[in-house]
């Protein structure tokens, strides 16, 4: 099976976000494989191990994403491709990323493409479905289980806490939801082997794309942190007085009733 995984380098979930001059400060922050993409990598490796074939991880980003690609190789992926847009694109969006990925995947004859359900930084959840759309293949999002049998695939997906079982056929794109698996960490032999695995670096030129072809469709107007939580208010006194006060506060201050 020819399996591809779309992987993004993101902020560590434990990092505190600091904004300076309208953008997020990245200095000194730890970066990781987007956790949902990590499920995708793990699942891809498991499917390859049971069905045979090859897993290629692809990332659109800068030079630094090499580190996360190496980790995926150390986990067990076979090949990695970094599409380095550092020098070509200043402000990309989900359209940019999916257009580039789709261009790359075009003609690669992927049987199965796995992506994360969302990236924990931007949180749009668009890239997977958009890539599938551009490639004109079906997609299923937020999957929590997948069984491949020949070219037919049985999938369980999470639907806001409920689950739905779907049958589909390859080629297919799926996006991973939490619960799909427990991603492995790289073993030492895994890290050593990864050193010898191919990591190809491409630029827009190599995909016959111009900056104009992938220009963002959206514009970021402002980035700001959510307002700080104010201290809560505890009402006191007789119960009926409290209820009256609550209603009046909900009406006049919170303006919800």
């Amino acid at each position: 099976m020819n399996i591809f995984v779309l992987l993004k380098r993101t902020f560590d979930t434990e990092e505190k976000i600091v904004i300076s001059n309208g953008s997020i400060v990245e200095d000194g922050a730890e970066f990781i494989i987007n956790p949902y993409d990590e499920y995708a990598v793990e699942e891809a490796i498991q499917i390859r191990d049971s069905q045979g074939g090859e897993v290629t991880v692809v990332s659109v980003g800068g030079e630094e994403a090499e580190k996360q690609l190496r980790t995926a190789l150390a986990m067990g992926a076979d090949k990695a491709v970094l599409i380095n847009i550092e020098d070509d694109i200043e402000n990309g969006d989900q359209f940019t990323t999916s257009k580039i990925l789709a261009e790359f995947l075009q003609g690669k004859e992927a049987d199965l493409i796995l992506a994360g359900n969302v990236a924990i930084d931007g949180g749009s959840g668009q890239v997977g479905p958009r890539v599938a759309d551009l490639l004109d293949i079906p997609y299923i999002t937020t999957i929590t289980n997948i069984t491949v049998d020949g070219t037919s695939v049985k999938i369980v997906r999470d639907v806001e806490g409920d689950s739905e079982t779907i049958e589909a056929a390859l080629p297919l794109l799926v996006t991973a939801q939490q619960g799909l698996n427990e991603p492995r960490y790289p073993s030492l032999p895994g890290i050593m082997k990864a050193k010898k695995k191919p990591l190809e670096e491409l630029e827009l030129d190599d995909l016959d794309l111009d900056e104009d072809d992938v220009e963002a469709k959206t514009k970021t107007i402002e980035i700001f942190l959510p307002p700080k939580k104010e201290a809560g208010k505890v009402l006191e006194g007789e119960l009926d007085v409290q209820v009256k006060e609550l209603v009046s506060l909900l009406h006049s201050e919170a303006k919800v009733i």
Binding site: T71, P186, I191
Partner: protein, 389 residues
């Protein structure tokens, strides 16, 4: 990308991966082991099966063929995470004896199994009740009879003997009176512990201040096949000595891991704990000892990497390895003390883990070599002062 950037990246990757394993074994795991004096079986199995303990074993025998620098990073990260590499470090430093001096048959027989984890080489029997630091006076004697050695004697503080399959045992094979130099006539035997226990070997646990699985060994007419002799008879002390530099560097790294753990815990606590209306860390009396310990840990770390790179380049590193061990053990102890003091009463409470790590890091002032012996070594071999011991 140049080679040194690549190496730094690789080391970072190594650290991350060891941290990923350790994150599955949080404070509470080690705390419970400590309370019940039990061996970290699951942790040791996992750190072995994920290949990290086999870092030094050559690739042809199923390891990763890395250097002491990488091995030291692995042990450092275990201690840095709040765990205790003492439960499994011996494999890394005793294995060198087998690797450098074992016969091709012995290596073929044992190394692949040690690498994959089906055999544990975690016990190292040198210390005896009456000889201590004066190793060459050890009395455990192995007499050659046909294709066997018959061993008699006693060892003390032999850690992990109950949790290991193999033990590297240092014995006398020629009586002290019959050798020209006291370092001659000692030999190294590889003992199959499973076969030996109950057949000439009795293992008795020693309760110590911390959870270290230390034991006393009573050896009476224990038969060890002659094929288990490592290298040549009579040259064992030399074999053990040339493993010492590796051991010093690895222990230094563990202390550095401990030190960083203490500094982090102490700093965090000092930022959060408010007494007299402000964080205690705002008082110089609290922050200075932490800052000083941090400085000393960083300095020790430089010496550790200096020693490790000399070792990996195959150069002499006795002085550097010993100095790294002393600096690191002193500074981890200093950091431990600062962490306890900073935590006030809570430094003594088990649920803060500071007292556990405090006990664990204290060992490295005494074992595997005590600080005084390092000073004696440096005075004699580096400064040319008269031998004092």
């Amino acid at each position: 990308m140049n080679a040194s950037v690549k190496e730094t990246q690789f080391h970072e990757e190594l650290r991350q991966s060891v941290r990923a394993v350790c994150s599955k074994y949080p404070d509470a795991y080690w705390r419970e082991l400590d309370a019940n004096l039990t061996y970290p079986e699951e942790f040791v199995n996992e750190i072995t099966s994920s290949g990290f303990l086999a870092a030094l074993i050559p690739e042809e025998y199923g390891g990763s063929g890395l250097g002491i620098t990488e091995a030291s990073i692995i042990l450092e990260e275990i201690n840095r995470s709040g765990g205790n590499a003492g439960a499994c470090h011996a494999q890394m430093y005793t294995m060198g004896t087998l690797l450098r001096h074992g016969s091709p048959e012995q290596k073929e027989k044992y190394l692949p199994k040690i690498a994959e984890g089906s055999l544990r080489l975690q016990a190292f029997g040198v210390t005896e009740p009456n000889t201590g630091s004066d190793t060459t006076k050890l009395r455990t004697f192995a007499e050659r009879r046909g294709n066997k050695y018959i061993v008699n004697g006693q060892k003390v503080f032999i850690s992990r003997a109950e949790h290991s399959d193999l033990m590297v045992l240092l014995v006398r094979t020629t009586p002290l009176e019959q050798v020209k130099k006291k370092s001659e006539g000692l030999s190294v035997l590889l003992v199959d512990l499973q076969a030996a226990i109950g057949n000439g070997l009795t293992v008795k646990p020693i309760r110590t201040m911390m959870n270290h699985a230390s034991t006393e060994l009573f050896i009476e007419d224990l038969e060890v096949p002659a094929e288990n002799l490592i290298g040549e008879e009579g040259k064992g002390f030399k074999y053990i000595l040339d493993g010492m530099n590796a051991e010093r560097i690895l222990i230094a790294a563990e202390c550095i891991g401990d030190g960083r753990w203490f500094i982090e815990r102490a700093s965090n606590y000092a930022k959060d704990r408010v007494v007299f209306g402000r964080p205690i860390g705002q008082n110089q009396g609290v922050q200075f000892p932490i800052a000083r310990a941090h400085i000393n840990i960083e300095a020790a770390d430089l010496m550790r990497f200096k020693a490790a790179s000399l070792f990996d380049a195959g150069e002499k590193c006795g002085a550097e390895a010993n100095m790294a061990k002393l600096l690191a053990a002193d500074s981890s102890w200093e950091a431990a003390n600062a962490a306890v003091q900073t935590h006030g009463g809570y430094g003594f409470a088990e649920e803060y883990d500071v007292e556990r790590k405090f006990k664990e890091t204290r060992l490295y002032q005494v074992a595997p070599i005590s600080t005084n012996l390092i000073l004696s070594f440096v005075a004699e071999h580096v400064l040319g002062l008269p031998r004092s011991y």
